[in-house]
């Protein structure tokens, strides 16, 4: 028993460098992707909310088109999406594998999801509050900025937290098809070389990362929600 422990410690210590680099790669991929996907998702959500049939300027054509695009992108299994997007990734980043290359499919894969989540956050805002804003003469733009956004803000924060955690999971998945980060380490060292200790540490670090981000998200929600 003691001998196993000593071996575990020694091997773990030897992985330090590899794991540290992998964590940094995973965080870079996840945070940049979340940031960009949130911006894109937010813009899409605003368009959806405005064009919705009960929205501020109903437009069935715009809403339906966007709706179909979002649903299509969301139906792809993520691994397949990465492969389908290889040409686009190569065109945009210059190569189709590696940490930065994976940001492209991560953004395209999760922006529609974030758009839906933020759209739902906007839809949760009581329609009578919007009516009240109209009743004192607020314009559409003011209603979005001064009513919808502040009212939906806590839910949007929850949505972004959820998205970040999904992206961390996706980024690990991306490691299996040429991405970097913890997923790649688990795959290359753990799976192909059959080294259980690598698997243990990558999973352990992923659990810790998810816990940390969820706690930060919950904390933010708590302090901004009234």
């Amino acid at each position: 028993m003691n001998q196993y422990l000593i071996e575990f410690y020694e091997k773990s210590f030897g992985m330090k460098q590899v794991l540290l680099e992998a964590v940094i790669e995973t965080l870079t991929m996840s945070l940049i992707s979340t940031l960009v996907a949130t911006v894109i998702g937010f813009i899409l959500a605003i368009i959806l909310v405005i064009a919705d049939k009960e929205g501020l300027s109903p437009n069935a054509y715009i809403y339906k088109s966007l709706d179909i695009i979002i649903n299509t992108l969301r139906s792809f299994p993520f691994i397949i999406l990465i492969i389908v997007l290889f040409p686009l990734t190569k065109f945009l980043v210059g190569k189709q594998t590696g940490t930065f290359a994976m940001i492209v499919p991560l953004i395209i894969g999760t922006a529609p999801f974030i758009a839906r989540m933020i759209e739902n956050a906007f839809k949760e805002v009581d329609s009578s509050v919007i009516e009240a804003a109209k009743s004192f003469g607020a314009t559409k733009f003011q209603i979005i900025l001064r009513v919808l956004l502040p009212e939906a803000f806590p839910s949007i924060i929850s949505a972004i937290t959820l998205a970040l955690i999904i992206i961390i999971g996706f980024s690990a998945m991306a490691g299996t098809v040429g991405g970097g980060g913890l997923g790649a380490v688990a795959m290359n060292y753990g799976y192909y070389r059959f080294d259980g200790i690598y698997i243990f540490w990558t999973v352990f670090i992923l659990i810790v990362l998810v816990q940390i981000f969820q706690s930060i998200g919950d904390f933010l929600y708590k302090i901004i929600k009234h």
Partner: protein, 319 residues
Amino acid sequence: MIDIKHLSKYFDNQKVLDDISLHVNAGEIFAIVGHSGAGKSTLLRCINGLEGFSEGDMSVLGKEVKHLSESGLGELRKNIGMIFQNFSLLNQKNVYDNIALPMKVWGYSNDEIKIRVDELLNLVGLESKKFVYPKELSGGQKQRVAIARALTLNPKILLSDESTSALDPNTTKSILELLQEINTKLGVTIIIVTHEMEVVKKVASRALLLEDGKVIGLGRIDELFLRPDEKMMKFLGEDEELPKEGVNIRLYFPSNVSYNPIVTTMARELNINFNIVWGKLEKLNDNVVGTLVINIDEQTSIVIKNYLQEKAEVIWEVI
């Protein structure tokens, strides 16, 4: 102030408002009454253009609503405050920011906003709740914040859409008193939509009764409630059980005579006994009015009719 002529509105070929004409005078409290689904809230929303209408004319503050552009409608809404059944406050903003919102939308300076919000907090009696968030307020307090918000831009008209329906009777009373105060002190014309007859009786001077989008009554409330016609009785859900035999005479007591002992005086002076078979007293705008139905046989009815003819202070009819 508000002039509605032959207004109709369709929702998918269904007529929800049917040929409505009415005039609301400056400075009055006017009630639009009806059961749910009668179209009263829809009619109210036509006044500030939250809903459009299909036919007819609606002139508000001298402007024809259907001809207004989006910015023109905005200007009109600046002069019309509105309060709602479920208060419609922003939960993420405190009381101060909620009341300040209309002024922020219209680009007032922070100094102006500060002065006005303090004034309004004082008016609605919530100075101590200035920085509290709506979830910490009771229903009545929320409605007070909503009233303050509706008044920030100094509107000439205040629209109230079932504003007391979610409140208990005591809170309803205090909100109605606040509305009366706003009406008399600030001279704001108030239009109240409600299904609660008690609300109408307490504050409104005139009322419009709607059923299935049609007008079934329009006039001063003492007339509407004191001498309801058949439609009105049905509307109020009142049916009288009167004896089939003999003569039934209904006496109406307007507010100035309702405290006088007319019935007992009559009985004593004529030395006649009669049956009181139906009756009620009502408080309308803090005045008490009432009706009473008495039943007598054919012969004595003549004596009573003569007596009532002479005592002109009571209105009566044989039914």
